[in-house]
């Protein structure tokens, strides 16, 4: 449904993303991992329309959306969350989510009803009438998720929704994400929490220094020498293998 065709983004002398390609098939949970500064968020911003690629193209359900505005992509069914949460701090949780719901429901009553349903879904039910600015980190992450879900996306881009959460909060939210997929929303997620990547994703892409260096099932990708080297430095894979042999 989403085809990213060798897109590049140059910021001055820095090649943030360099000819990265990926394909998302409907109904899957795809992971996008990579070391810090690999260009994952930049790639997300290009897919959601906040940054224009220097080169390459993006297609969604067959249509070329490379030059489309973010709100048009949202209308097509691409929802996103932000790594640095962006709540409408002066509004209540319910009003926050309703902004997303208004995309498909013009009437206030319908949008509010939809917002309440989504809030229940992600576990924000008790917080509905609280100001969004007063939420905890975990609450804000859930709010990001809820707002994006309220737009009724076909493809959901999750940018580190688990970062900053403690292990029990992560355990709570993993079934929510899986549940969203089971309802027919395709998910592409950037994630550093490997426990979540291993349990959730069927397929993982690895981005390092702006290039796609590996892809495949999570277990295979984690064993990939290029991936280990990207995270731990040159020669790390060989050293690990040697150590493994010595201990084994």
């Amino acid at each position: 449904m989403l085809v990213v065709d060798s897109v590049s983004k140059r910021f001055g002398g820095l090649m943030a993303v360099d000819g990265a390609s990926l394909t998302v098939t409907p109904g899957s949970i795809i992971g996008l991992i990579g070391p810090n500064g690999a260009g994952k968020t930049t790639l997300f911003s290009m897919i959601s329309g906040f940054i224009a690629p220097t080169d390459g193209g993006i297609r969604f359900e067959g249509a070329d959306i490379t030059a489309e505005e973010p709100h048009r992509r949202a209308a097509r069914g691409i929802g996103r969350t932000f790594q640095i949460v962006q709540p409408f701090a002066g509004l209540t949780v319910c009003e926050n989510i309703a902004v997303g719901a208004y995309l498909r429901h013009a009437k206030r009553a319908d949008a509010i009803a939809r917002a309440r349903a989504v809030a229940q879904r992600v576990g924000l039910g008790p917080e509905l009438d609280r100001p969004a600015g007063g939420l905890t980190v975990a609450g804000r992450k859930r709010l990001e998720l809820a707002r994006a879900l309220a737009t009724e996306p076909k493809l959901l881009l999750l940018d580190e929704v688990l970062a900053g959460l403690n292990p029990s909060e992560i355990r709570d939210i993993i079934p929510v994400i899986r549940g969203i997929r089971d309802e027919g929303v395709t998910i592409l997620m950037i994630e550093h929490v490997m426990q979540a990547v291993m349990t959730l994703c069927e397929h993982v892409h690895v981005l390092a220094q702006g290039r796609m260096i590996a892809e495949g099932p999570p277990a295979a990708v984690c064993a990939d020498a290029r991936v280990i080297e990207a995270y731990l430095g040159h020669g790390a894979a060989a050293r690990l293998a040697a150590e493994g042999a010595a201990h084994g």
């Binding site: 906040f50 709100h71 701090a89 902004v99 995309l103 206030r108 707002r147 737009t151």
Partner: protein, 337 residues
Amino acid sequence: MTVRDLIPVLVLVGLAALLPLVVTASPVLNFLVFMLIVALGAQGWNILGGFGGQFSFGHAAFFGTGAYATAILQLRWGVNAWAGLAAAVAAGGAVGWAIGFLSFRSGLRGSYFALVTLAFAEVFRILANAAPLTGGAAGLLIGLDVRPANLQFADRAVFYWLVLGFVAAVLVLTRWIQRSRFGAQLVAVRENEDAAKALGVDSLRVKLRAIALSGAVTALAGGLYAQYFLYIDANIAYGGWISVELLLAPIIGGVGTVFGPVVGALTLHGLGEVAKQFAGRIPGIDLIVFGTVLVLAVAFARGGILGLLERLRDRGVGMLPPSAKSRTAKEVPNAGR
């Protein structure tokens, strides 16, 4: 929007409508009409600045456009005053849209947008001061011809009711905005434009609608001003004073609220008038009061008078059970904003 949503508007406007039956002195009615005209213009500012978060320092551009449109159409082309007023509203909307298109499309926000609006108002002032069409520096005098068809009334109370009716209509409009999809999207743009875009909000279109509406309402106030005082020149219609008045009233009263601009205009002019009564010989005493009230509002009541009342009420319900508190908690303005 249901009738219940409008009860506060109906009650307050109903009470205000009774005033001329009690007070008949001309200076008082003059004061009330002028205050309501400022309130109406401020309501226009509040749509863009309060709900949309786009602070304009140059709403005189719309006020003056409304005033000149009303006057010029009558004087130069013999158009009926009521039709002139309607045209003024349209002109205000068009000028709003044009200024918005030029500044929002190039991504101007915050203080840059404020400065650009200020520049537009100044350019209009200088042009109106020079052009023959606007009567140049001599200004325009609308001939006295007291007939309701000319939008001139023998009784000041009638004009008061007319302006009050427009203020009421805009209160209803603002209430509608607050409850509509457009309003929700406008507030979302104010709070965080990028997040709003990600949720499918066409932020440019929303802001353009807001500035056009805002310009139209403020132009209506300008048209009524011209029609009440029957004389305008560039320094009145496009003067910096009106830009300041229109943004002070909502900030003092409560930015982004339905009643804020009206409460603010009433407070400012009420206090200014009282100060003039007590210290009539000191020129500009009312301006000193304006400044003092602004400093107090910014320092102690960030949500304006209405925000302050809200907070006092919340403190008052501290003893109530938590369920009652959480109901009011949603109206507390966020401290981090």
